[in-house]
Structures are given as C-alpha cells and as structure tokens.
Amino acid sequence: MKNRIRVLRAEKGWTQADLANALDVSRNSVNAIENGKYDPSLPLAFKIADVFGMRIEEIFQKE
C-alpha cells in the first residue's frame, strides 16, 4: 500500500516528530509508514486522515 503522508506532511511544514506527536505514536512508526514499510491499522489510518482533514482513500492507495 502506498501513501501520500510524506508529501502532505511537507505541505503542512511538519517534521516526522510533529506528526508522531499529533498521532500519539513514535517517530519510527511515522517513518516506517511513510516509507511503505508498515501498513497502519484501520484506527490509525482514520487518525491520520483526521489529522490531515482528508478521507483515508485520499491518503492511502493500492500499489
């Protein structure tokens, strides 16, 4: 699964640590998700979508 988190985060001017704080996860988690090395659970995907004010399918796409 690919995602646009890195781009969206850059648009907001956030660091990985900022996003990690907003999501209440570790920075390593954000890094792994951004790199497509780890697919988040559905609750975390909803949380990510909420943080960016978007729908899940606008952030995550099938490869």
């Binding site: 209440d24 996860v25 570790s26 390593n28 988690s29 890094n31 792994a32 998700i33 790199n35 090395k37 780890y38 988040p40 659970s41 975390l44």
Partner: protein
C-alpha cells in the same frame, strides 16, 4: 487508582531496573528468602512490562509480536537442538555452574537435585527464546528503516 501516564520507555526502564535490583538482592540472600525475592522480581517484571505494553504504539507492538512468535520459536528450537551439546560431560557445569552456586543455600549445603533439571528445562530454554527474540527484533527494525 489509575497508573501515571509515563511513556513506554519509562515503564520499561522501571521494569528492568527493579527486576535486576531484586534479582541482585535475591542472589545475595540465597536460600528460601532469595527464592521468594526471585519470584517477586518475576512478578515485578510482568506487571511493569504490561504497563509498558499498554503505552506502546501499534508499530512497536507489531515488532514485538513478530519477534516473540518467530524469534521465540526459532530460539526455542535452537536451544533444544543445542541441548545434547550442553549435556556433554563438563559442559553444563562450566557453562551454568554460576547459576547452581546461586541456588546453593547460604549454609553451603548442596543445591536441590532438581537444580540441573531447572537449568536445562527452564533457564536454558527461556534464554534461547530471549536470544531469538532479540535477533528478530533487531532484524525487524533494520528491515523497516
């Protein structure tokens, strides 16, 4: 009473420091008191590890589940495979003798005859699982970077 909102790392540090402190005191006391304290150390480790687990995010939990399932299983199999080597004359005494000394009562009487069985059936197996866990844990983090 609700547990204070410490980070997972803080709970892990508390778990490890308390556990090893209790184990050190247990090793000094030896005998029945030492054994009781060793059990208390085990309970301490379980309680504070659970508190750490509750504060971890899902990525860390996924890494730990993966490492316990696959690393723990491989470590278990490896420790069983190495058991015949451990049973060779002299090997068990030289490798795990220090644990036998800890199990010896303060009055110098010989340790419980069940001690070697405990060392081989529990300590050795758990140690193998821990090594397997650590190898998988490190591998997971390298792979996910």
């Amino acid at each position: 009473m609700a547990a204070p909102k410490l980070s997972a790392r803080s709970w892990r540090i508390i778990a490890a420091l308390g556990f090893w402190a209790l184990v050190a005191v247990a090793a000094l006391l030896r005998g029945t008191a030492g054994l009781v304290l060793a059990y208390v150390a085990g309970v301490w480790l379980i309680v504070f590890s659970l508190l750490a687990w509750r504060r971890q995010d899902e990525y860390v939990r996924a890494a730990q589940k993966f490492s316990w399932i696959f690393g723990g299983l491989l470590g278990l199999l490896a420790s069983l495979a190495l058991l015949p080597a451990l049973l060779q004359p002299g090997v068990l005494v030289s490798l795990l003798g220090w644990i036998g000394d800890l199990l010896r009562a303060p009055d110098g009487s010989p340790p419980d005859p069940a001690a070697p069985a405990f060392l081989l059936g529990a300590v050795w197996i758990v140690a193998g699982q821990l090594v397997g866990f650590l190898v998988c844990w490190v591998g997971w983090h390298i792979a996910k970077r």
